[in-house]
Structures are given as C-alpha cells and as structure tokens.
Symmetry: D2
Subunit: 153 residues, 4 copies
C-alpha cells in the first residue's frame, strides 16, 4: 500500500501509546499485547480464546475489529502531537477467511496523516504453528481531538 | 430506511437463531441477551461492563461492532432457508457518539434479502435511565453458505 | 433511521447549496437536478443515460456513488455555518439491485451533525413508470473545513 | 498488502476483460484506458476532465470511485471462470487528498479470491508532470454470478 516513513510529532510517542493501551480494559479482556511499535505502525498479538468465539468456534469478527480498531487508533496516535487525543470516526472490515488459529497478529499502518483526520489500514493474520494466514482487514478513519471534555490524551 | 416485512423461509427461524446465538461465546462474554426477534429483525441488549472499555472508559467501538455484527447476522439468518449457515462478508461502522451508559440496545434489520447476499443495517443506542441516544451504526453484508466444511447451519 | 429535524446555522443554506451544486460540472454531466432541499436533507433526480452505464447496460455503481456523495455533501453543507466548506472524507456503498430505470432519485439525510464531522445516509431509487425500487445506499462522512487553501465555501 | 500471484482459471482472461471494459460506456465518458492487465491486477488511466469535477475543480470523488470500482471488478473478473459474470456488491472509499492533476492512474489488485466472493483493493494516484500522489483508495467486494438473467459474462 506504499507505506511511508513518518516523523513523530511527539518524542514520547512510545510511552503515551503504551500508557493509553494499558487503559483499554478491552485489550486485557482479549489478551492483547504490543509486539512492536514505531511511529505510524503497531503490531498487536493475542491468543485464541474460546470466550471470544462465534457460533462456529472461530474468533468473532467483532473481536478482530476491536483489536484492529485499537491498532489503527494507536498507529494514528503515535503520530499525533502531545496534546491530542484520538477517536475512531469509522471503520470498514472485510472478513477474508475463518479466524481459527492458536493466536492472531494484527498489524496497523498509517496510510494518510492529516492534522485532524488520519487514515489507517490494519490486517489480522491467524497463526497456526509456523503458518500465517490473512483473515481480515480494516480501513479506519481516526480523528485527533483537542480539549474535549471527558476525552483525555 | 424503508424496512420491509419479510416472510421467513424457515418456520423454525426463532428456534434456530436462539440456538446459534447461544453458541456464540462472545455474546456471553459481553453479556448479551435477545430482547426481541422477528423475521428479518432482532434486538439485543447488554449492560455496561468496564472489562469492555477503551481508554476513556467508553465501551470499545469493536465491542459495539461485535454485537451489531451478530445482530446483522441473525437478522439475515432468520430469513434464510433451513439448510443455510450465515457468514459475515464485511461491515462498516460509524461511531456517532461516545458509548457511555448503563446499558446498550442494538437493533438490526434486513434491508435487502437475496439468495446468497443479504444486506443489513444495525444501530446501537446507549441507555441512561429513561434516555436513549444513538451511538453507532453498521451496514453489514451477510452471506448464506451451504454444505461448507466446518460451517454448520 | 430516526432522522432528526435540524436548525440550519446559516440562514442562506438554500442559496449556498444551490450555488455550490451549480459549480459541480459532474452533476451537469450526469444530468442531475435538485428536487427538494431542506436543512439536513436533499433529493436529487437524474435520467437514465447510456453514456453512464456499465457492461450490462445498468447505470454504473460509481455514477450512483457520485450522486449519493454530492447528496450527502449537500445535506451536510446545508447545516454548516456560513464560513465552512464541505469535503467528503469517506463513503461506503452497497449495491442492492441493478440500476435500470427511466430515471433515478437520490435522497440524503444527515444522521449525525458535529462541529467538524457530519455523517449522512443516502439512498438511490430507480424509477420505472410509477414504480420505485431501492437500488443502492451510502453512508458517508463529511467534514467541515475552514480557511483551507483552494477549498472555497 | 501482501499481494499474491494468481493463476487465471480462464485462459482468455485478457480478451474477456478488454471486451467487457469496452462495453462500459461510463469508461468512455470518463476517458479511461487500460494501461496494463494481468491475472488479478489491472491499471487504468484517465485524463483530467473539467466535466467530471466537483465544486472546487477537483475530480469528483464519485468519478474516482467509478474507475476504482471498474478496476476492482476487472481485477476480480480476470480470475473468474469463463462462465462467470461479475457484479459489485459493495465498496468503501477513502478520499486522501484533493484529486487535482493532469491525469490519474488507478491500480486494483485482488486480495482475496473466492469461488463466489472476491475482495479487491484499489488506489488512485494523481499525476502532475513526473509526480504521483495517492488521492483515494477503495476496498471492494465483487461477486461471481452464473446464469443470472440480464447479466452476461
């Protein structure tokens, strides 16, 4: 997708992303951890968990969306100035293959950085032993917000 | 949205939807229950749960998506023939307002019924005492699948 | 979709929408005219035109998208303050039925109005004699921009 | 996006795509030509045309969508068996930058090939002299249809 290299506008981007991620109770419930983080890119990992399945025993598409949305949000947040908070405006998910596997890896990249609007793309891969397979992708639109009540950066 | 009335093609639609819903471990984890169900329409309810929040303490957009995706799936499934299983192909979510509230109500309707492809629309409302507010919506594309390995109807 | 009534923030909303619409050369090329306009809602009409078809002789999905995007943009623009210009951030289209007919009617409504971000929903109906049929819908995210170079309100 | 190499299931894929493309009157109206075509991938080119602009003089987002939708459709069609026709089910477009330029290049790739459902990604680049800039992208869901009345392959 022609991913660019980005210059972070907040030198503490690593710290602020990890701090915000730790506040997302949903990430703990899903069992997510950050595998890698750089300016404009993040990888998140989570194990299979029966408690998060749909009727055929695959991970629910909405759970994949939860992790991809967080990944898009933090890829965007990593490039925002220090006084910005991040909100998801919208996202679109395609389910490409059943989400079965021992674990899952989500990768998100910023594909368009703006002052207010940042567009990200994320993909989810299932991990089965040494095999990886793309199971879903997302395009998400993230917004930088400033001084909004109840929305901390 | 000009919702139509539909004739179910499976007279046991109520039973099969509730049975499949009960198999979705993700619905239990979120605390979802079916409020009402008719051919082509479903309402699902779930309480606020801190374990499902994002960094500002609102319910995570992906969790809303999980419930809206299930709701779209079951609205579609209720109109499918007895030998069909249902899969989500894709969905698109707009986040309209922060998901804060005592509880949440998700309503999904079939807006286009096809032999293979069914399109649904869902909305999530936050409930605060007697007030309800729309916080998110989804357009989802669902597919009827037949005789696919590992995908039971 | 629970459409609200809106108060315009620019009393000249009718004039400014029609003026901007007249500047869209694409609307002329498609043969569009405004059927009705109120604060937060617009209806646009265009005739069948073979020059805009896809390979089966139906109106191309992208042409429907063009009109729905303009309709979403102007529904949003009608509620923006006098110094705002409108830009489309993103949209999502579902094709529900082949776009064949003598003419087409597109209706767009604002479903969430914000200071920066406004979300709209549009539908396209084919007209065949006295029959109308929904052939496509859009959810679109519109942005109010101020003082941006090259983007006039 | 991890693009795969694909084996065409119809050895006449090049001919059938060009024949169908030639039937799309909308492509002629926009001034599109095929720059390159292989199994699962297509590039389409079109010049700036004032007749296709929005109110600020940029190419209308819906016109970009028209070309990206055709590109997605033909990327998918190139991999379909000889007796299949292709229909767009849905697409999602993000507008990344104003579509101003001397000409535009649209590239579409199949990212998930299925028997019925094929998912494609497309991007539009503006061309200004020797500079190219990504101005929009699409994720589109395409469907193979067989023996449907009025829908020729």
């Amino acid at each position: 997708m022609g991913i660019h290299e980005f210059e972070p506008r907040d030198e503490n981007f690593d710290g602020k992303v990890r701090e915000s991620f730790a506040l997302q109770e949903a990430m703990k419930t899903i069992g997510c951890s950050i595998d890698s983080l750089e300016a404009g890119k993040i990888e998140i990992h989570f194990p299979f968990n029966k408690a998060l399945t749909q009727q055929h025993g695959f991970i629910h598409a909405g759970i994949l969306s939860t992790v991809m949305d967080s990944a898009c949000g933090y890829a965007a947040f990593s490039l925002m100035p220090a006084d910005a908070a991040v909100l998801s405006i919208e996202f679109k998910v395609n389910l490409l293959s059943p989400a079965k596997g021992d674990a899952f890896r989500v990768v998100a990249n910023v594909i368009r950085l703006g002052k207010t609007i940042t567009v990200c793309a994320a993909e989810t891969f299932s991990i089965n032993g040494t095999k990886q397979k793309r199971v879903a992708n997302m395009t998400g639109t993230m917004m930088a917000v400033f001084d909004r009540e109840g929305i901390k950066n």
